[in-house]
Amino acid sequence: MKRTYGALLGACATIAFASVAAAETITIATVNNGDMIRMQGLTDDFTAKTGHEVEWVTLEENVLRQRVTTDISTKGGAFDIMTIGMYETPIWGANGWLVALDDLSPEYDAADILPAMAGGLSHEGTLYAAPFYGESSMIMYRTDLMEKAGLEMPEAPTWTFIREAAAAMTDRANDVNGICLRGKAGWGEGGAFITAMSNSFGARWFDMDWNAQFDTQPWKDTLEFFVGMMSESGPAGYATNGFNENLSLFQQGKCGMWIDATVAASFVTNPNDSTVADSVGFALAPDNGLGKRSNWLWAWALAIPAGSQKEAAAKQFIEWATSKDYIELVAANEGWANVPPGARTSLYENPNYMEVPFAKMTLDSILSADPNNSTVEESPYVGVQFAAIPEFAGIATEVSQEFSAVYAGQQTVDEALAKAQAITNDAMEAAGYK
């Protein structure tokens, strides 16, 4: 009898130990935005399903980028999952720093990920990060002001139309600026916008031999058009305006048009925060008739650093957070307008979601951006508003500082382009590209 009890106790202890050993606590580094915060609030669902606990490290985007880069390049192991973007993923995947996500379960349906997103988050055809949400950029405009100006926004406007419409909508006496755009220095701020815009003017960062292209006419045309339009119709001090500054201006009714991230659509149409929520329309980012539009492509995605001790639990989390079921969970708790957009094809086949006013335009914008073929002339890099090479962030930050100095009236377009050319060529030479 004693032996039986002993065996039973031993078995119980083994089972208990096994379940404790199976339940992990994973640490996730992420950014502070509405979708990510919502995910944190719903983590109990993941814990209930798998038994794994989650610890969050939420940081500002630029701090996070520096923090996770330090950790992954030193194999620090501080995080089991990192939130990274389309810029880092192919570079880190090529370096062997990330776990390949090529064995996700059949129920996950990896083929459902939007091709543009899967392409941008892969290296040599292998997916290294699962998109949590994706975005492009598009025009958000005031329907009432457009009507007052006697104009109608085409679904796919040209830059010429946008400049004319901006001038017509500008009403300085009432503090209304025809157009608000990013001018703030930083590769992810003004740098991202001007690079995406330059694609539609036929410009590119590098030729096929990695020579800088700022001495070409398309770049001069891009900057002169931008500065001219913003001087006519932009807000004062636009050289220091980024996403948040323009969002604030638009929500207060001080912008006729704003071309920026598609995720902003949910902010400007939210009546709790926006004074113009009921009069916002959407259109594709403008083009110049050269076959490329000026919208970008971005995704915040979840990736596992190579060497993670909790790879299995981390994969389970990624499958949960980027699944179709998670989208349903958010919709049930917060409504369809708040589900993470731009990651899965099936979301845009869902009639409930397609009733959201900005859903179709977001999808059209994402589909019109191709990170593998973003420029009019052939270029050697992947990426729409960036070139996915490790040196780009540093170079583009410096170049965007020169451009911001033009917006602030501190130097001419020609001076800035000459400096950009020298900065880029010097950096590329030092990095061994030439």
Partner: protein
């Protein structure tokens, strides 16, 4: 004979002092006010000063979303621990430099201070790798050591300056009365330098509390202090100024209260020996 100060001059001086004080305090006041606004009120143009509907919603959201107590506790341990460790090391160091100087004492002091001129990011990778090797990444003990080391030059310099003001004859008298070196430092020197030590402690606690480079880069989920708590509410893509202000107010409140109640000691310590 002291020069008579006219009433008019007094008024001007007082007004000027208040103006400077308010200008310095204004960013903190604005942060506190913004924390009681809605996100829409926080970005209103023209800005709303007092005429808005006050709300505690931001505090409620921050408390619900973050484990404030954990961040606060980590900050207390890291700031307190690094200060205590720094004082224990700096008191004997400053004593030897003040009372038993050598030919190279001034050079050593300058060299110590020069380490503060090194950009922190320049040594991030070596320190990070060292922390991985020692297994102290994302640990309070790791941060206590790092913050103690980066603030040590300031602590030694401050204590050295205070100790220099104490007449060496008093210590000699103690020695003649048979005091050992330990007794001399603990029972004679330290009590005489209490205002200086107190202000050094306070200043170092403030520096450690506000340190945001190492505390963000060497922590993850376990040892993150209030600087990480604030960083989690900052976003370049989304207007969360009111919530960020609430988080900031909660992060600075403890140190603000400490500074407020100890301002007398802080001022007397910082001006210790300034006027003979």
């Amino acid at each position: 004979m002291a020069r008579a100060v006219t009433t008019q001059r007094k008024i001007i001086n007082t007004a000027a002092a208040w103006a400077v004080g308010l200008a310095i305090f204004f960013p903190i006041l604005w942060t506190i006010l913004t924390s009681f606004k809605t996100e829409a009120q926080a970005i209103a143009d023209p800005p709303l000063f007092l005429g808005f509907d006050w709300t505690l919603e931001n505090y409620s959201v921050v408390m619900e979303r973050s484990d404030y107590a954990k961040y606060l506790w980590n900050s207390i341990i890291i700031a307190g621990g690094s200060t205590l460790l720094g004082i224990i090391i700096a008191v004997p160091a400053a004593w030897s430099m003040a009372f038993v100087p050598s030919k190279r004492t001034k050079d050593i002091l300058m060299w110590m201070l020069s380490t503060k001129m090194l950009p922190a990011v320049g040594v991030l990778y070596p320190i990070y790798l060292l922390f991985i090797k020692l297994g102290i990444l994302d640990s309070k003990i790791g941060l206590v050591i790092v913050l103690m080391l980066i603030n040590l030059p300031i602590i030694v310099w401050m204590l050295y300056t205070y100790f220099k003001e104490i007449p060496g004859e008093i210590l000699e008298a103690a020695r003649m009365d048979g005091a050992t070196l330990k007794e001399e430092v603990i029972y004679i020197l330290t009590p005489m330098a209490i205002p200086g030590i107190a202000s050094t402690i306070l200043l170092n606690v403030i520096l450690a509390w506000n340190e945001a480079f190492w505390t963000l880069n060497l922590t993850a989920a376990k040892a993150a202090p209030l600087t990480a708590f604030i960083a989690s509410y900052s976003s370049p893509e989304g207007l969360f100024y009111a919530k960020l202000s609430a988080a900031s107010t909660m992060a600075i409140a403890p140190i603000l209260i400490l500074g407020w109640f100890s301002q007398k000691q802080l001022v007397s310590g910082l001006t210790f020996g300034a006027v003979k």
